[in-house]
Symmetry: C2
Subunit: 198 residues, 2 copies
C-alpha cells in the first residue's frame, strides 16, 4: 500500500462518521497521524472494546454490556412507567434533567419508510412483548416533534391503546427562555391550544 | 467496564479529533455502534494500518511509507525548485491545481512559540541540510498568509538567503471570482501595491 493510499483509506473510513465530509476526513487523518498518535491509539482501543462488548439491553433496547442495563436492573425506578425514546442520546438528556424515575424503551431511530426503517428495525416486537407483560400502566411517548417522530408516536400509541395501556405524550409549548417574537407559528398555536389555568 | 463507561471511553477518545466536541463525539459513538459497525471496523483497520506504516519522507518530510515519497523519488520533477508548505493538505491542494512541477518541503505546522512549536518541531534542520546540499536554486515560500505563516516564511527566508538560495513568496492579491465590495482592506491594499502592467 502506498503512503497516499494508506492515508486515503483512513480518510475514506473516517467519512462514515456523521457530519464528516472529504475535507474534514483529511484534516482528521492528518491530525491523528501527525499531531495526536496517542489519541489515535485511544480511538483504536476504545472503539475495538466498544464494538466487542456493547450490545442491547434485552428489556429497554438501549446499549448495554450486560443482559439487563443498569436502569432496567435498578430497583429504585417505577416499573409501571415506560418512556419511549428515539435514541440513547435522548435518554441521556432526560436522565441528566433528573426528573424521570420510570423505565425506558429506546427505539434506536424512528419510522422512516423511505430509508427502509420500518417496525422491525425499531424492535417494535420487543416493545409489544413489554406492553403485553402487564407491568406497564402508562407509556410516555417522547419521540421528537418532527414528522418522523410524530408518525412513530402515532404508530406506537395505537399499539399501546389496543393493549389497554394509558398513552401520554410530552407537553408542547414554549421552551424555557423562549421569546414569542422568535417562535414559529406551530409552536405558538400549540402554546395557545394547550394553555393552562394560572 | 460498564456499558456507559465503554461508550464514554469511546466518546472521550473521539473528542481528540479536530472540531469534535462532546455532542459530536456522542453522536459519532452512537452512529458507529448502532448504524454503521462496518464503518467502525473499517476505521479500526485503516487507522491501525496507517499508524503502523505511515512515516515521514526523509527528504521532504511529507507522510510516506517508504524512505523517499513518490514525489521525491520521481525523475519528472525539477529538483532545483523547492516549495515550502505548512501541511500535507496544502501540498495536495497545490498538486491538484497541477501547475507546479518542482519538489516540496512540508513543515507539518508553523512557528508558534506560545504552543511550544519552534524550529525543532518543524524539522528546520532537515530543511537546512537540503538547502546546503547545493541542489536548490529557488525556494518558494508557500506558507499560509496568517500571522504564524508569515512569521514562519520570514524565518525560513532568512535561512535560505544566508545560503545564497533565491527566495520567492506566492503572489498576493484578489482571489479568482473575488468581488472588491467584499474584500478586506489588507487584500485590497496588497492588490494595489502589487498591480501589474496590463
Amino acid at each position: 500500500m502506498s503512503p497516499t493510499s494508506a492515508i486515503a483509506a483512513l480518510q475514506q473510513a473516517l467519512k462514515c462518521l456523521p457530519g464528516v465530509g472529504p475535507k474534514s476526513a483529511q484534516r482528521m487523518a492528518f491530525h491523528l497521524l501527525e499531531r495526536d498518535q496517542d489519541g489515535a491509539r485511544e480511538i483504536l482501543v476504545s472503539l475495538a472494546h466498544a464494538l466487542k462488548t456493547v450490545k442491547h439491553c434485552s428489556r429497554c433496547n438501549n446499549f448495554s454490556v450486560t443482559e439487563l442495563c443498569n436502569i432496567c436492573a435498578s430497583s429504585h425506578r417505577n416499573p409501571g412507567l415506560l418512556c419511549v425514546l428515539e435514541t440513547p442520546a435522548d435518554l441521556e438528556s432526560v436522565e441528566q434533567a433528573g426528573i424521570y424515575k420510570g423505565m425506558y424503551f429506546v427505539l434506536m431511530g424512528h419510522l422512516s419508510p423511505l430509508d427502509g426503517i420500518g417496525p422491525d428495525e425499531l424492535s417494535i416486537r420487543q416493545l409489544i412483548q413489554l406492553l403485553e407483560s402487564g407491568q406497564i400502566n402508562e407509556i410516555i411517548l417522547a419521540t421528537n416533534l418532527t414528522v418522523e417522530g410524530e408518525a412513530t408516536a402515532d404508530y406506537i400509541g395505537d399499539i399501546a391503546r389496543k393493549r389497554d395501556v394509558k398513552v401520554t405524550r410530552l407537553a408542547r409549548g414554549l421552551p424555557m427562555g423562549g421569546e414569542l417574537e422568535y417562535m414559529d407559528q406551530g409552536t405558538l398555536s400549540q402554546a395557545f391550544e394547550g394553555r393552562r389555568e394560572y
